[in-house]
Amino acid sequence: MSSNDEVNDGQSGLSRRTVLGSTVAVAVAAPLVAGVAEATASSSAVAAAAETVSVRVKVNGTMRTVVVDPRVTLLDTLRERLGLTGTKKGCDRGQCGACTVHVDGERVLSCLTLAATTDQREVTTIEGLANGDRLHPMQQAFIERDGLQCGFCTSGQIMSAVAVVEEGRAHSDNEIKESMSGNICRCSCYPAIVEAIKDAQKVMR
């Protein structure tokens, strides 16, 4: 986590959603992800693009303040700005579920969530599930049931699975399959994932 692109909340005098002046904005916007930086450079409307938004968001229990280009997704903010690379980018189009996180306790896709909309909200990522060294029951169950092969979809699967149990949508194999259908696994670990969710559910209750 680099400190230069993140304003520590305790030291920040910024008010919420402050639209910063251009001097500050340029300094802070420099480390944006490549795609966005290119888009900015190639555009004639650089002035408009330089506008940034200050976001105060609680991530895994810690209040963070990030100053972002309003085009940046929560997914890129977590990975590129906050160093939380556990959340994966699969399709970046809302079609695979690899980027699933919880916002205010609900599972959502971080690739279709603009970071600018998460001001004053609470985000939980895969890094925030374990209690110190004690894994969350769902993490433990995925390991015990071999609910993964390459592991690329796994953090999204686990974040979704935790929410599915909390939503009370894991009463049968079919209900689990239907409510987990937004998480695609290229390695096709689906049967083991269903077993893991059934195991974890017993411990979570």
Binding site: R17, G35, V36, A39, T40, S43, A45, V46, A48, A49, E51, V53, P70, R71, T73, D92, R93, G94, G97, T100, E106, R107, V108, L109, L112, T113, L114, A116, T117, D119, S160, A163, V164, E167, R169, K177, E178, S179, M180, S181, G182, N183
Partner: protein, 326 residues
């Protein structure tokens, strides 16, 4: 992604005064953010409307009221919706995924854009995206495309499941702009492409959907949404049917019928509704009633199976609704 400025208005009045040509409202973002990444939508200003007081599901004498910002998952799970309008709840439950339903709003759902692959690919001609550029689907990959309400300018299918259920129930949409408020029947809200496929509805630039009202219809408690698709879940409809029946014993008194996956807009089938009235429920009767359901259909090279699929989807939906134990 094209650059844009961003604001988060707190009142409808503030939102409307900033809205207009070149600006886009952001609700769940599951259509808008996706299409902005693809450069299909390029607003210069994005208005996050999630702080506006446009939420709340309630029922009164007029019917069921739902706010534009209520989420698909909340509406699907709402007790009144499940019990009194199961077709709405089912259409939502069969849409997208759990994550997307938590994000997506009712207003945004009604305004989602077509999934036509050419519309989403800025390197190909598409009249809907770039008026006058041509339609790549006419002689392209058109298996999923519409057979009803098409034109030589565009054959894109309307993708919303919810809208099919709502059109069957004669739902009204409430709109607000700096000019004032108005209410439009959802069926009339949507427009067929004609020569202007980029104009999909009667919404004016800067106009906001504030909510919808589903009219009071006691017999909608007997209703159902059937969705046929290429995989069992997390896929758009190849064909779908929303049906509601008022029964007197085994005899149908009245029916409401609309189909999805077939039209350039959610397609109400009043001819089938009339043909069903007075019939005794049964597969042969249903087959007779849906005989002309696909009248006026125009098929293309790869979607010639759709008229038959439409009729079979209807028969299956009607059969399921009249044989389930109630």
């Amino acid at each position: 992604m094209h650059p844009y400025t961003f604001s988060q208005p707190r009142s409808v009045r503030d939102a409307l005064s900033t809205a207009g040509p070149g600006a886009a409202f952001l609700a769940g973002g599951t259509t808008l953010v996706d299409l902005m990444k693809l450069d299909v939508m390029t607003p210069g200003h994005v208005l996050d409307i999630n702080r506006l007081p446009l939420r709340g599901i309630r029922r009164d004498r007029d019917g069921l009221h739902i706010g534009a910002l209520d989420r698909m998952s909340d509406v699907a799970a709402h007790r009144t919706v499940r019990e009194s309008y199961p077709v709405i709840s089912q259409a939502l439950e069969l849409s997208a995924s759990g994550q997307l339903r938590n994000m997506a709003s009712i207003g945004g759902n009604l305004l989602q854009r077509t999934r036509c692959g050419y519309f989403r690919d800025v390197t190909t001609p598409c009249n809907k995206r770039t008026p006058g550029s041509g339609c790549s689907a006419l002689n392209g990959v058109n298996r999923n495309h519409a057979i009803l309400g098409t034109s030589d300018a565009c054959i894109a299918t309307h993708p919303s499941d919810l809208a099919v259920a709502l059109v069957a129930l004669s739902t009204e949409v409430h709109l607000a702009s700096t000019q004032g408020v108005r209410t439009v029947l959802l069926d009339r809200f949507y427009e067929v492409p004609g020569n202007t496929p980029h104009l999909e509805n009667v919404l004016r630039p800067g106009e906001l959907i504030t909510g919808i009202t589903v009219p009071h219809l006691p017999w909608a408690a007997k209703s159902l949404y059937l969705k046929i698709r290429d995989r069992q879940s997390y896929e758009f409809a190849l064909s779908s049917a929303a049906v509601a029946l008022e029964m007197s014993g085994r005899t149908i008194k009245q029916a409401r019928v609309a189909v999805g996956g077939m039209g350039t807009k959610p397609w109400r089938l009043t001819n089938v509704e009339k043909a069903l009235a007075g019939r005794r429920a049964g597969e042969a009767a249903f087959e007779a009633a849906v005989e002309n359901a696909a009248d006026g259909a125009r098929t293309r090279a790869l979607n010639g199976f759709k008229p038959a699929l439409l009729r079979r989807t209807l028969v299956r939906a009607l059969t399921a609704l009249t044989t389930e134990s109630r």
